[in-house]
């Protein structure tokens, strides 16, 4: 149960950590907590032998050194010319190294109560006691409630810190609270997931959630669910198979869910992107085909007003030299256009436009030529707002510009005036 609360809080805190672009800071906190655990153990042992494994004490130690690691990173980054990634690597390595040295010293102590301390490195759900579970879920609940209350403030901080500051939000304080939440989540995760992998449970649910939604609230919710499911699977499997490290299974479940999200995510999944790209290519191919039809027909059909283009057939041999397409590509485009009922096949290699196809071809030619003229006459504009894929030029350009362009268009192509 403590595990599930931890998963929820990790998903939520991770969402903001990811959006704040500080994912690796979670890793620093995790690794930097090790010397804190060791020092807390030593202090408690000195104070009263056999009391060194009191979890609240160890977690306070872990938090303090986690925070120290975080602060060191910030100091190295701001006070020297060392870049963020190097600052992260330095503190992560330094603190972890110190922790390992302290652990080696502890292992040699004659107290005998140090057994199980290594659980903080790899995590172990099997040996968690009830009081430890109670502590974990209470901290997790506090973190979840805090994140819920400050939801919109954190969102603003992550999106536009400068604007937040200009509005008078105490951005430094908010940042501290957010990082405090990250530390809290990391620390309660030590016992179950271990400090090496705790960052994974912060980042994987949030990163997976991003594939499914474009809304911050939904992303947070989704990340929380993925966090819970990962933790639940981990706990179940470690209960079923003793000796199976729960932390690793938790993170592995998360990774599987990430892969599923990566491919099947309904907002930015790989398959969706592939599909939209294919759709776009197909649409462009159809437009180009219709344009080719129009260009052939406008020379063969006399340019009288309201002259229908649907009576004349166009052969494959006429179409083929119009563009640099292979016969295979052309045939595929022709098939697509027939499916859209733009074309009717007349005989084996002869096609003609349908009424629907004529409208589409005229529109395609008009759009195409208006854009050509626009780019010629307004070459100084940012090409960023030229949207050739737009169904109609009118959706993008001003009416006045369109009137000017059309005048030029009709001068150049009188036959287009009929459409």
């Amino acid at each position: 149960m403590g595990n599930n609360h931890f998963g929820t809080s990790a998903g939520i805190a991770g969402t903001f950590l990811l959006l704040r672009k500080r994912s690796l800071l979670g890793d620093v906190v995790g690794h930097a907590s090790l010397p804190g655990v060791a020092i807390a153990f030593l202090i408690m042992e000195l104070h009263e032998p056999q009391s060194g494994k009191w979890l609240p004490g160890l977690l306070i130690g872990a938090s303090l050194s986690g925070i120290a690691g975080m602060i060191s990173t910030v100091i190295i980054r701001t006070c020297t010319r060392i870049k963020e990634d190097a600052a992260l690597a330095i503190t992560l390595g330094g603190f972890y190294g110190l922790g390992i040295v302290l652990f080696t010293i502890i292992q040699k102590l004659p107290t005998g109560s140090q057994a199980g301390l290594a659980n903080f490195i790899y995590g172990n759900t099997a040996t968690i006691t009830q009081s430890e579970v109670d502590l974990i879920w209470r901290v997790a609940i506090v973190a979840i409630v805090a994140a819920g209350l400050l939801f919109k403030e954190f969102g603003l901080l992550c999106f536009d810190e400068q604007f937040a500051a200009s509005q008078g939000w105490p951005v430094v304080l908010l940042d501290l609270i957010l990082m405090g939440l990250v530390v809290a989540v990391c620390v309660i995760g030590l016992r179950s997931v271990g400090l090496l992998l705790v960052v994974a449970l912060l980042i994987i649910p949030a990163a997976s959630a991003r594939f499914w939604t474009e809304k911050l609230s939904h992303m947070t919710l989704c990340a929380a669910v993925i966090g819970v499911v990962s933790c639940y699977m981990g706990a179940v499997s470690s209960a079923l198979f003793s000796r199976l490290a729960a932390g690793a299974v938790i993170v592995l479940t998360g990774s599987v869910m990430f892969c599923v999200s990566l491919y099947f995510g309904t907002r930015r999944g790989v398959l969706l992107r592939w599909y939209t790209r294919r759709q776009l290519n197909q649409r462009i191919a159809t437009q180009q085909l219709l344009l080719a039809f129009f260009e052939i027909l406008e020379t063969s059909v006399p340019p009288a007003p309201h002259q229908s283009l649907t009576d004349t057939t166009v052969s494959l041999d006429e179409l083929l030299p119009k563009r640099s397409w292979t016969a295979k590509q052309l045939l595929r485009s022709l098939r697509d256009a027939q499916r859209l009922q733009y074309l009717a096949s007349h005989s084996e290699r002869e096609y003609r436009l349908t009424a629907q196809g004529e409208t589409a071809a005229r529109r395609a030619a008009r759009n195409h030529r208006l854009w050509e003229l626009y780019l010629l006459q307004h070459a100084d504009v940012a090409p960023g707002h030229v949207d050739r894929d737009a169904d109609r030029v009118e959706q993008v350009l001003d009416p006045e510009i369109i009137i000017k362009l059309e005048t030029a268009l009709f001068k150049k192509y009188p036959q287009m005036a009929v459409s």
Partner: protein, 264 residues
Amino acid sequence: MPSESVSPDVTVVPPLSIHDMTVAYQRKPVIWDIDYVAPTGKLVAIVGPNGAGKSTLINAALDLIPRASGQVQFYGGPYRKQRHRVGYVPQRESVDWDFPVSALDVVVMGLYRKVGWCLPVLPRHRHTALTALDRVGMADYAHRQIRRLSGGQQQRVFLARALVQDADLYLMDEPFTGVDAATERAIVEILRELRSLGKTALVVHHDLQTVAEYFDEVILLNMRLVATGPVATAFTTDNLRKTYGGRLMLVEQTDRIIGKGTSG
């Protein structure tokens, strides 16, 4: 110089008065001894070459970066007391547009102060935000994720976020940079609407050709104030040469620009 920049009809406290402001990054000062009093109800362009400290001027006035020396007052008080009367439109590049929010969500952020700590956004806040989006012609795009907006549309979302605050003074950092014609016109219309309501806007502006058309006054800046005041008197070839220095190409063009500006 400050006495020149104060319009004679200003009897109330000026929207913004900057006194002896110097701002430094790391070791070297970026802007030096700025003295400026903004006129009420005017559109003011902040003009100067790249690296002249135009954005720095705005950011330092808004306490976003520390000042080395000098005082800044908004409506006779420090910024932290007058925030509600000042709207700020940052540069579009300052945020990650991949963020999972819609256009409407971004505009609502301008109301977060009014919503208050820890409280949820209510339907009436969303309604206010939607009205502001409508003013910049973006109501149809309210629920679109911000990455799927064009650069000009993103700029208009930022403008709407400042408009919901219903401020009296607006500071805008390069709102016209890289936007399409429709957005440029929408922004100009909003600026004129603000002026007709007696509000003031200070706008960092890059395009010298449109200064005379869009603005009433200018601030010519190149690490120090070169000139301030009405376009007719301050936006001169001489002052532009002082601002842009030896950038000959540009100086050669200025006569043409000024000629075009004053005739148009």
